[in-house]
Symmetry: D2
Subunit: 293 residues, 4 copies
């Protein structure tokens, strides 16, 4: 993790590939006296493909006002000519993150604990849950806990989501579904588009439908895994950020599988959240570019 | 791998679980002056479940005739009373293995090469292929190569399989489909039941149908894998022996994925074949018990 | 993890290898109407080597008094004849575990958290630290915290260890050094022989001496790891229980390495502690036999 | 692997870090109408540290003569001003690689086999061995084999190395010690500086000196590994390119450890060689920068 530093900014760019992009961006930063600390790029195909770039730069004395001016200059001098999607993200300003959970707590606790250790570049503004059970554990970390029950009808779900949006307000940089066992409406997903991360179990082969651990156990799989992805309107089909697996044997019973699954879920989710917060992930259609270490 | 040794035998047992099985088996071996070298067991549920056991024992002076007598005594004194499925497998007698391949050679070469190094407890009696391309490479290892073309009609497929069975004869302990790109008839599969191992790619999630690597690439998966399994009449749905994965990133193109997929396939297949030859695998319905190191 | 169950016992055995051990043990359990749930064994060499066995069995109605009787019968009928080291460990009686820590808390918190989730078969009777910093975090879990300062002289160290022994009393089944940054006296180690587990960083190659992370970073290692081991009088040279590694690159700075090292340390330690509590580990000289899943 | 392509070149740069490097390099390539396909960079510290860069670019119509001109222009317009170490490496010109081996063949065969499959961007000009055993296996791949015996005295070693240098001539881009069991003289190492890759076993902790596998087995390690590194005059202390490990248990005997060690050695070596040939490795003192996928 890069520590939060004054005057440090991350620039993410997506645009059609063409010659001269790197020269234009690095020339701009050089003219502004910025010092590039890290730079990563990826091209899907130099001929007619897409271009992706992450720059982390230091510009002595840069603050919020200076950054607004820099944004305007970048748009005029570079971005507009290359038809770029782009964003400047100041490292000194922690992203606002909200955690959603239900009853199980392994993913929630992993994130709260890493956050408390200073390993996540975020402010956790609140935890929202459709169950009251985790209030004490959450408040012990000094984080507000809101219990928003969700009824079984669509009308009740919409009403609950309205209450959640009211609680979160406008300023939300990331919502993490830390084993939140409710399907969100497409309205809600659209409103926080590209800012919701979910975690779920994964197997080879997949076991679509109910009770996947039981069926994976019956099939005698030798690996169980987890996938962290951005949420889109298609359930569990959004862009994958991170995946990992753990080895199991015939001597692991169904409870063992669920427990090991919980372990791998919390680690995969923690990595995905860390990378999002560090501006390491760019969404490209239904895929991601992840500029890891 | 345990080296092939005179007077060493492996005993595999499957039966309904009940008290006294271990006492009966170990008592029998002790009375016969056998020395247990390794013993592994597994119970799915001590109350009404299934029991599985692998014993490797040494009995000084034991040869083929002695082993036949031992089998009869074991049946009468132990196995029949516990309604056991069981087999004694002499380590001094190498299993007869046939490799099937088509055009791609990564899985075939890995097996031939490991076999030549002495790492596989088998005699490779022949390689059978529906393509002529790998003849030179196979014959260089001193292994007979048979080209058996397979036509597109069912009648031609049956005729080709008849020719293959004619070539292999009665004595086949294991058929390995080392990227053999033909679906076998259910008759063929039934004849060599529990003795055919296949390898195929695996992803999280699965991409069923055509061109899975392309679709995995489009979906931006972060892991690609392989699964080795016994072949049953349901295509790619037989009992899993081994699985593994390898990490990929957005910068791996489709060819990279295929190449890394080939790497992981050959290692997973080699492990599954090694364990089958060392009598480490027991099939239990659609699952396997694998007594690994 | 096997859940704590009434009437379930684990039997660990070490003895010189010779024919008939399994028959004797399983015959004994069968005569007592015990039902073997799991059994694992290992022989270093059937001719003149050592034999190791772990049995988990169920005996309806068995309680503390019955277990004492069973121990006496086992000694007389089996163990003495084979010169066995052996122990019966009742699963219904949770082991008493004490955690030692200093300032850093990653290993401590991982254990407390897994324990609270019910994943560790232990009662954590207390946490002892030479620093006061972790009192609040520990007491939040409902676990007593004792601050025992350790002065720089040997006299002060001995005095502190005396205070610790006084706090712990006689009933200690496991002491875990969860990043406890003090070297224990050989008297202390001898008193709790085979019952102290430590965790430390590991590299390939090793960097013996001061500031190993800095030197590993300077050498550009591509893997960093951790080793959990029993503590003996030779510092960091006791029997290894578990090891693991994580991949790093040139772009990880020294702080990254330390943070990733902390992550791998807490997982390796948690596995080692879990296995010890589940009676899966037998010490053999300076090695361990670990009967894993 | 990127396929060998006409008009594609890789540019590696090392220099003191300072603002404007990326702008200067990308501006130069843009002026020359080159299209950047991949670009990776790394800074040890933006303030007074070192800067490393790998560019892969396409310049339509570029050939050997054009490349020479480009080199001169790059030196004058960019490199000299930034005090750069740099190299242009044309992808259309396969690197000349020589393999050294002794008796064991696992590392040798892995490289020959990958090479034959087209996975290594090299021409293997010859195999040199101090033993005659592998001649047939090597010549089967169509690669010349030279047996150069090495006597026990320094005088004989120097004489043998002279013969090897004579055989290899001037054009050697990479020498791979594929389990070559001779220590090279520092003269030889200096002559092929930064162009010799070696593979050796690695453990946690290290077992320096004779018979490391036996001692690792006696210590009961749970992981065994391998390290690929550039050869320097300090034996086995050169810059590490790649490392990996494999899990072992108490039930693996010494032969198993050696066999698994051979497996992990061949994979680690193959990766290191692949990355060197693809110009992905920059040496920085006693460390490496490896620009992986």
């Amino acid at each position: 993790m890069t520590e939060s530093k004054e005057s440090t900014v991350r620039l993410l760019i997506t645009c059609p590939d063409q010659p001269g992009i790197v020269a234009a961006v690095s020339g701009f930063l050089h003219r502004k006296n910025a010092n590039i600390i890290h730079s990563d790029q990826h091209s899907t195909d130099p001929e007619g493909g897409r271009f992706f770039m992450r720059n982390e730069f230091f510009l002595a004395g840069l603050n919020g006002n200076g950054l607004d001016a820099l944004r305007q200059e970048f748009a005029a001098e570079v971005a507009d000519g290359f038809i770029m999607d782009w964003s400047f993200s100041p490292v000194w300003k922690r992203k606002k993150m909200v955690l959603f959970c239900s009853k199980v707590d392994h993913a929630l606790m992993e994130l709260l604990w890493r956050w408390k250790r200073g390993d996540l570049e975020a402010e956790i503004t609140m935890v929202i849950s459709n169950h009251p059970d985790r209030r004490d554990a959450v408040e012990h970390f000094g984080v507000p806990f809101h219990h928003v029950p969700v009824g079984p009808t669509l009308r009740e779900k919409v009403s609950a989501e309205d209450a959640m949006m009211e609680l979160m307000g406008e300023q939300v940089d990331l919502i993490v579904l830390a084993r939140y066992m409710q399907v969100l409406t497409s309205d809600f997903v659209a409103r926080y588009s590209r800012r919701i991360i979910n975690i779920h179990h994964s197997f080879l082969p997949a076991f679509v439908g109910a009770d996947p651990y039981r069926r994976a156990h019956e099939r005698g799989v030798k690996l169980i895994g987890a996938t962290a992805h951005y949420v889109t309107s298609e359930l569990d089909e959004g862009p994958i950020i991170e995946q990992d697996v753990i080895r199991v044997t015939h001597s692991h019973d169904l409870d063992d599988l669920k427990r090991l699954g919980a372990d791998i879920e919390r680690h995969v989710l923690a990595r995905a959240v860390t990378w999002h917060l560090e501006d390491r992930v760019i969404i490209d259609g239904n895929k991601t570019i992840v500029f890891r270490h």
